[in-house]
């Protein structure tokens, strides 16, 4: 180490904080500990806000649409069960779905009789009705044990997608499913 270096070093090393100054600096820690506590509180609040936001996002993205969908299907089932129980007379008597379809020209979709029902039910006839203020076809079916069932067919909302669902309303069992852009509901 050169002479000038040692002079500079010894000059700086001779400079020290007084004991009083050291105490003042160290006592500032107490204040900072307090601010730690308040910063801890703000951290907790921050995480709580993030949690609420996350729950809100999950609810609005997943749970709320699911709730809305279930509520809508429930409304359909209520209306369908009511129409089924009214047991209004059929307007078109035919067991041929194409013939019925040709006569129900007000419908905004092509009428079809699902293959899955053809084995257990015979088509008797149909009439117009409405579900959720939309025009619907109400097909009267006769089961193998003479049990009367009603099949409702109507156009679905664009964004409504659901698995096959069974809802019981006023002792009427309503089975709903979707196919392409149609909703089918079998009430019995």
């Amino acid at each position: 180490m050169s002479n000038i270096d040692s002079k500079i070093k010894s000059y700086y090393l001779s400079r020290k904080l007084t004991d009083e100054q050291l105490d003042i600096i160290k006592n500032t820690k107490i204040k900072s500990d307090r601010s730690h506590r308040s910063s801890n509180l703000s951290e907790i609040l921050k995480y709580a806000a993030i949690f609420v936001l996350l729950v809100g996002t999950i609810y609005s993205i997943f749970l709320f649409p699911m709730y809305q969908k279930n509520a809508l299907l429930n409304d359909y089932a209520t209306e369908i069960a009511y129409n089924h129980r009214k047991n209004l007379p059929i307007e078109i008597i035919s067991s041929d779905i194409e013939q019925i379809g040709a006569k129900m020209e007000k419908l905004n979709f092509t009428l079809e009789f699902p293959d899955s029902l053809q084995e257990n039910y015979n088509l008797v006839g149909s009439r117009y009705c409405s579900v959720d203020n939309r025009i619907a076809a109400q097909l009267k079916l006769l089961g193998q044990n003479e049990q009367v069932a009603t099949l409702f067919i109507f156009k679905k909302n664009k964004d409504l997608e659901f698995e096959i669902k069974t809802i019981v309303k006023n002792d009427v069992k309503v089975m709903l499913w979707e196919s392409d852009d149609l909703i089918f509901a079998l009430a019995k």
Partner: protein, 152 residues
């Protein structure tokens, strides 16, 4: 965990660095106190390199603010000027006070903190060559000045 004795040494090291920047005991003390508070609040480890960075940033901020303040004050009282508080080693202090802040800081980091030229270059974001050149020139300058002073 820093024990009391180590903490005192650390604060003194930080104080010396602050003094190399400010040349004023009170300002150096304020810098160390503020930097200590910042480090504790941010839960940074109490080591000299963090102190140096924090003190440096604080000093630059203060200088910016002070420049505005002094510009404004000098318009009101043109005679107001900054006087370093010299108490010991009058020759060396006088010579150090004739260097600018950057030169003093480089001298301190190299001689007292024993930083390499590369470490100083990284900290101050200036080329390593500039650090070496300033170190060489300033040591020579200080040597000559001290010789002159001792002859007086």
């Amino acid at each position: 965990m820093v024990c009391d004795k180590d903490l005192d040494d650390l604060l003194n090291q930080a104080y010396r660095y602050a003094l190399s920047l400010t040349l004023n005991e009170n300002d150096a003390f304020d810098l160390v106190q503020n930097s200590y508070l910042k480090l504790v609040e941010k839960r940074k480890p109490l080591i000299i390199s963090y102190f140096i960075i924090t003190i440096r940033n604080q000093f630059i901020d203060d200088r910016r603010k002070q420049k505005v303040k002094w510009d404004w004050l000098s318009k009101l009282h043109p005679s107001t000027s900054y006087e370093p508080n010299f108490t010991v080693e009058p020759y060396l202090e006088k010579v150090l006070s004739e260097l600018n802040v950057k030169e003093r800081e480089i001298i301190f980091l190299s001689v007292v903190q024993e930083y390499t030229a590369q470490e100083i270059s990284d900290l101050m974001t200036i080329p390593r060559g500039t650090v070496l050149s300033i170190l060489h020139r300033m040591k020579l300058k200080m040597k000559n000045k001290l010789k002159e002073k001792s002859r007086e």
